[in-house]
Symmetry: C2
Subunit: 310 residues, 2 copies
């Protein structure tokens, strides 16, 4: 049983109440507290020593990553983050300066995005450092972008370049908050997710929630310099293209808009965000599954996203 | 450096914003999202294998405890819980049935208090199981009961009986949500906290936040049957009274009201909650520190609450 199968089993019959707009299964939970113009977004995310960072990771970057991952989930709903709680679980004999540096990284990113850090907790964790962030944000009422709205004929877009995040980006990425809000304000975004498990895996989350398929255009998929460099080094068997499909922790936005909006969006994006690439990488289809088109034709996509427990 | 000193150092200069009513340092953070009649309450709490439960703890009780601790913090603000996110960090090779049973315990308690479980996360934690709960609730606007409102002359009250929680109560306690809301609706509660670190320690949190002192009445402090039994067993040097002062995880409410309200409160409480003891255990003083009065006179209180890193 992998992570997704476990979650599916655990979330089958969770208690709910009238405040819940969207519960488990999207980038954030969406809650209605009766605000006339807003819904609330609620999210937690944890990073663990030995998995998401190592003993050698600079502590400021650990703090940055812990919060940035959660902010990226708020971005994936086209929301605005408001307040965070920080849980740090530490092995006995922790180094106070190290923890302060984690907080410095967290605080700098929080400040940048107007997020208040309103408390948290330290506790003991014998196996290593674990940091869990709980984040509260908001989105204009009725305007949260879910995973479930993709429609056949939609154009599929991705920001930035993909693959090779482990070379450094996973510790330094900027959550695409401003970009996501701009998108939702200016275009009808049908479905959106942030790329944490890899394009192939995360696209499947959209397809499953929306009950559609997709056809990707191989030459359109933006491959990062890091993915290309690592392939050149010959240190791994993965091609740069396979890395762009399957590597985790890109933290770019993957979203769909009606095919008719695609060209207009690309033009407007270039003016608004000239430094960040936006790529139209394929289209949503009425069928099931993912196919990939290149010069030689169309094939089913077999590459898988990173699955935590696999 | 103990847990409280570390937290004090980390929370000295956290980023804030206009949504924050009360940040780090109370039982919950209090946030203003512009609701005309409500503030939001935001809290996280984590429990760790080997510290808060063991390999032999029935998993349903682990789930119950994880959520009940957080609910108890909402109670300490006189609030109502709304939605929870659940983070479970597991060693490799986890037992799915065990995790499902944790969720069953969590869900049963959530259902009882109308709390929706709106998602969460599973991740890997090499050292053992860690469960972190993030909880969102609400409180009538302007009516959150903080730690900082105690005044000289206030009567100090505690619900239930104290000490010996480790004998079983820490896994089964009922968070005092209904009691706290009733208190805040019917009386002017000046300060409140839930007892997690022990009466002596948690009272000091109120005193420090309110810049006052306290005098406790030794014979008035309610000692649990478990604390008395354990002392009889001779398995530890602590007296039942010392256990009632210093044992952690009672999860009862400790609060103050004006001295003039004390008798009226005791009478009304007996009618409203005939099965739950309420004890007036002393008074708030203008000075500093805690003294304790018995037949022989008044002495400074030297017993300390449980300190996690000590």
């Amino acid at each position: 049983m992998n992570e997704f199968e476990l979650i599916a089993r655990l979330t089958q019959s969770l208690p709910t109440n009238p405040n819940v707009v969207t519960g488990a299964g999207d980038d954030c939970a969406v809650l209605d507290f009766g605000l006339p113009d807003q819904w609330l977004l609620f999210k937690t995310d944890a990073i663990v020593e030995g998995i998401h960072f190592t003993k050698d990771t600079p502590p400021e970057k650990i703090g940055h990553k812990a919060l940035a991952r959660c902010l990226s989930d708020i971005a994936a709903m086209a929301g605005t983050p408001t307040a965070a709680l920080v849980t740090i679980a530490l092995p006995p004999g922790f180094d106070v300066k190290f923890i302060e540096a984690i907080y410095a990284g967290l605080s700098a990113l929080a400040q940048k995005h107007g997020v208040a850090i309103v408390g948290g907790e330290t506790t003991t964790n014998p196996g290593g450092i674990l940091i869990s962030i709980a984040l509260l944000g908001s989105v204009p009422r009725g305007r949260a972008v879910l995973r479930s709205g993709a429609k056949a004929g939609d154009a599929i877009f991705v920001t930035g370049e993909l693959g090779g995040s482990l070379a450094g980006k996973h510790l330094e990425f900027e959550p695409r908050l401003a970009e996501a809000r701009w998108l939702a304000e200016h275009f009808s975004v049908h479905a959106m997710i942030d790329l944490s498990d890899g394009l192939a895996g995360d696209l499947r989350h959209i397809l499953k929630a929306s009950r559609v398929g997709a056809e990707l255009l191989k030459p359109a998929i933006p491959i990062s310099r890091a993915a290309k460099l690592r392939a050149k080094e010959g240190s791994r068997t993965k091609s740069p293209f396979a890395a762009a499909l399957a590597d985790g922790e890109d933290f770019e936005l993957l979203f769909t808009v009606a095919g008719a909006d695609a060209v207009k969006l690309l033009d407007a994006w270039k003016k608004q965000f000239p430094k960040l690439k936006l790529s139209c990488i394929g289209k949503i289809t009425a069928g099931e599954g993912v196919t990939i088109r290149d010069q030689t034709g169309v094939q089913p996509l077999t590459a898988h996203g990173y699955v935590h427990f696999a």
